[in-house]
């Protein structure tokens, strides 16, 4: 099975839900509407993609959206294990909410908590929506959003060395 065939199979399984398929190096992303994401993810799981490798969120402040992608793959089907298929949707930046996929893929529970604290995307229906890694005060700042800037030092030093 090659990538084209896989795409065909996914399009068949997902039916009209697919908005577009983006191809990256080493993975493909299936983009759906935010409202359909639970349905699409369930169908993808029935296809054999039984676990999520990465819940990837990318912030596009210019386009005022977050791209949320669940990169899934398969453990039990050795043929599908070679591919990483992402199911993604765009979440508006000013009211970041989306339905949780915990009940589709149990493994994303902690990753959704992580996204919640780093980007502020709230997953409705998540059983335990708390910050995971950060202290509560820092989680308020949503550090992985692009407007949170971490300064790098310039290569020329002003302060003289002390030793």
């Amino acid at each position: 099975m090659d990538v084209e065939e896989l795409k065909k199979r996914i399009e068949e399984a997902l039916g009209g839900l697919v908005k577009g398929i983006e191809e990256g190096k080493g993975f493909i992303d299936v983009i759906v509407d935010l409202d359909n994401i639970v349905e699409a993810a369930s169908r993808l799981k029935e296809l054999g993609f039984d676990h999520v490798k990465s819940l990837t969120v990318i912030d596009y402040p210019k386009e005022n959206r977050f791209r949320v992608i669940y990169h899934a793959s398969s453990y039990l089907d050795e043929e599908l294990a070679k591919y990483i298929v992402g199911i993604g949707a765009d979440v508006p930046r000013d009211n970041p909410r989306m339905p949780t996929l915990v009940y589709v893929w149990r493994g994303v529970e902690f990753q959704e908590r992580e996204v919640y604290e780093f980007f502020g995307i709230e997953f409705t229906g998540h059983p335990d929506m708390r910050p995971l890694l950060l202290v509560p005060q820092l989680a308020e700042a949503k550090p992985l959003r692009k407007e949170f800037i971490v300064k790098e030092e310039p290569i020329i030093r002003v302060k003289p060395p002390t030793g």
């Binding site: 790098e152 030092e153 020329i156 030093r157 003289p160 060395p161 002390t162 030793g163």
Partner: protein
């Protein structure tokens, strides 16, 4: 593809005898090592490991080779290597010029060796020792003068014996005296 998954099964060990044998095996092995421990412990301040010359220890500058290109500062991942401005007289023309010199801050250095590898004139080199500690932080922020001298090796100064570790088939690592390799 030559790799393949192989399903294995745990060997079930049940019953009184299996447990007994396991205990006897373990205790015998323990006693074997109690008699012949096969030690290779480094008795540290009395001995020290003479590291390979390629070891990435403290980084030192050959000032005369440096061309002030600031590649090292650009590649430093920890912002430990930074350039300072310094007025210097050119020996040929006699003009006073602003020059950039690298200095290193060991409060941050992570010893990745990128600066040494990127230096276009091999002006930076590493000394093969790493066991230097400081009592106050200010000493770790090396200025240009400190940076151009290799730091003192404390154990060598105290008269420790250099040893080397070689891989041995019977005992894992074996400690042997490093000999005939004085200096760099």
């Amino acid at each position: 593809m030559t790799a393949r998954p192989v399903v294995k099964r745990l060997v079930k060990r049940k019953g009184l005898f299996a447990g007994f044998k396991g205990n006897v095996d373990a205790i015998t092995l323990g006693l074997k090592y109690l008699v012949d421990p096969k030690r290779f412990t480094l008795i540290y301040p009395n001995e020290y490991i003479k590291l390979d010359p390629g070891y990435r220890g403290f980084i030192v500058l050959h000032k005369e080779k440096c061309i002030n290109c600031s590649s090292c500062a650009r590649i430093c991942p920890a912002a430990a290597m930074r350039m300072i401005k310094r007025q210097e007289q050119d020996p040929k023309t006699g003009k006073v010029k602003m020059k950039l010199w690298p200095v290193i801050n060991y409060q941050r250095c992570i010893f990745c060796g990128y600066c040494v590898d990127v230096c276009p004139t091999e002006a930076l080199y590493t000394v093969p020792y790493h066991d230097i500690v400081y009592e106050n932080m200010a000493e770790m922020d090396w200025g240009l003068e400190t940076f151009t001298r290799p730091p003192e090796h404390p154990v060598e100064k105290e008269g420790g014996i250099p040893v080397k570790y070689i891989v041995d088939e019977e005992r894992g690592l074996v400690k042997v005296k490093a000999e005939g390799e004085e200096g760099d």
